[in-house]
Symmetry: D3
Subunit: 147 residues, 6 copies
């Protein structure tokens, strides 16, 4: 195992978008939306955790390169099934930020779980996945909708 050599790769703008769904009971979602969660503001905590986790990715994912992230944008919204999480990460560096976007989504979901678990321990983080990435030698990739 090693951290592969990216020294010959070009500095290009690289963007990655990842998403996840924290599936929860309707009553749990209502409590968040009504601001009635004893532990505080779930959405703000989840956003902040996403940003901070993106920066910690190389500490968590052993073979990741440390990268100079230029933007981390978490977006949270409630869908029918629970909390939808989307994080966009950007850099201009030698390798992509897929792992940073995925790690940030996971941290947002885990943070929301932590604040809500006394109400709803059965919540499930579903479909943590890359939606698209651009930049670099392998170019643009987009999840095909039929998957």
């Amino acid at each position: 195992m090693k951290m592969v050599d990216v020294g010959q790769k070009a500095h290009t703008e690289r963007v990655a978008v990842a998403t996840a769904l924290l599936r929860m009971r309707p009553a749990t979602a209502r409590a968040v939306k009504a601001g009635k969660v004893a532990k505080g503001n779930v959405l703000e905590a989840a956003r902040l955790a996403a940003v901070m986790a993106a920066k910690r990715t190389p500490d968590l994912v052993p073979l990741c390169h440390p990268l100079a992230l230029t933007a981390v944008s978490p977006e949270l919204s409630f869908g029918k099934d629970g909390l939808r999480i989307q994080v966009t990460v950007k850099t201009t560096d030698r390798t992509g930020v897929e792992m940073e976007a995925l790690t940030a989504c996971a941290a947002a979901g885990l943070t929301a779980y932590d604040m809500l678990k006394s109400m709803d321990r059965g919540m499930v983080l579903e479909s943590l996945q890359l939606e698209e990435k651009s930049g670099g030698r392998s170019g643009t990739w987009r999840r095909s909708r039929g998957r």
Copy 2:
């Protein structure tokens, strides 16, 4: 927002088990099983990442208490759909280790994703969830199978 006061809670043995599934194409799973992954030994890296992430949980999940973990046991196996991840975490402390077990599962899945993503960018981390927890005032909780 605050880290809630657990000072009056008793030190008791607490255990949590979390699971997740990294859904991947059969060819990707075969490459892991055959040891044909350019980045190295995926299963060992994922296990180690799980242990290390469990220890970093209070840095990632903002309102988590720092706990003296006494055991972290990741178990990985291949099922029909991909890599099944299960992590058991133990402590004898004032609050539970659900978040540590979930964080460890996430890190194992993300680490495997990172090592395999050049082969299969569409992999999805599914069903990151608590299976059971015991100890503490709220006692034992088990996921009901019908969920």
Copy 3:
């Protein structure tokens, strides 16, 4: 230099309260109170940063012991001069949590500064100080008001 031996000290409940003031222009305070800060929810970010920094204290203050914090409670309010920050930290351990409370106040103030600095670079963090601490061999200490 060394981390002094506290192995013979008793595990007792220890509490520390620290405060600080982020002095800012009235217009800056109004923007925070009106929720008109481009970077987002300043008060929630500052509270979360306080909790997280309390947990990181042994990484920042070289000779601090790692402690099992049982509670971190940040309280923010606006006074005449700016943002008043108070953080209470608790543990049941062999040494006190003064440094954790002070570090948390500093992090809250720095986080607010960071989010507001494009509006008001001249803000000053004033009077970062211990207000009281209790527990342990040296017992209770309270700041005398005349200081």
Copy 4:
């Protein structure tokens, strides 16, 4: 909340200077100057803590970008009221290092407080503030002396 996109900003040299004052009793300052502090060399520890904290800024201040710091210079001296702390931080990057300079000053002050607190728990960190910053789109800013 998000880490704002600085990807379109130019790499320019950026410098920030921050200061603070750790107000202490004259006897406490004399003990430091005479090298009579049981916990060791306060000034060296404070300088080192300043350098290390500057590097940890993105872990403490949630929305800060990770930056490639090129220099961190702490300067400590005793004035009439206590320990004067000044830290200069440099980078050649897309955004400024004000937060790194302020965080480093805070860490130096907290480290000195920690080593001296058994003698003088009433010490206060005063006037943690930016003195000047240069570089980047917003150019040079200097604290006006009349403030």
Copy 5:
């Protein structure tokens, strides 16, 4: 003490190679080679620890600059006396990666020690040293064999 200013240095490719030897009893080496170590796969754990520690170097070595590492390659092999560790680190940055290569070797050796210590507490990490470095103003340096 300060982190010296490297802002005027050129971005050039820099490589460093460090080595160490974990001296152990023949029976201990045989257990590793036979995969009969209760704690698991020693070589994989040591490699991963090397990569992760290289990334953490600025947190451990106080005056080190944070650098954008582009490659970390650990190589482990058994010699007559024990486990030979070699780590190559690369960057294209303003200062060299000697400390990263040395820190990675130390972490690999300590990780192997940890996994084997119940069998052989007397193991010794010997000859942790720089073998060569290239790039930057001081150019190439190679350890002379006669040393």
Copy 6:
């Protein structure tokens, strides 16, 4: 791989002493002793790095348990061959602190190397080893002098 379960072990006082030698040229040692090192006070920096690294051990050595360290005492002295490093670590916990003592010695040696490398790149960290440990089920172990 897993972090083994120590939940059934008793909390007992545990002490570990590790040592190492940073072999250097006599002129290098003289520069340190005369305080003529451009990067500053080598011995104070090495001591502080030792204390901080002991606290970071579970982040560096993947399978180490997080422990509540109660004391970390680095002692540095010059012998005929270079800088002799000894670190004593204590805890009252369920498992020993051998890895913390060894990690602290390594960090002290690497920090000194870093500050002196522009004078003497050929320095070697030798004989990083456990000297003795006490406490716990396996009791006291002492390095036999003949080894």
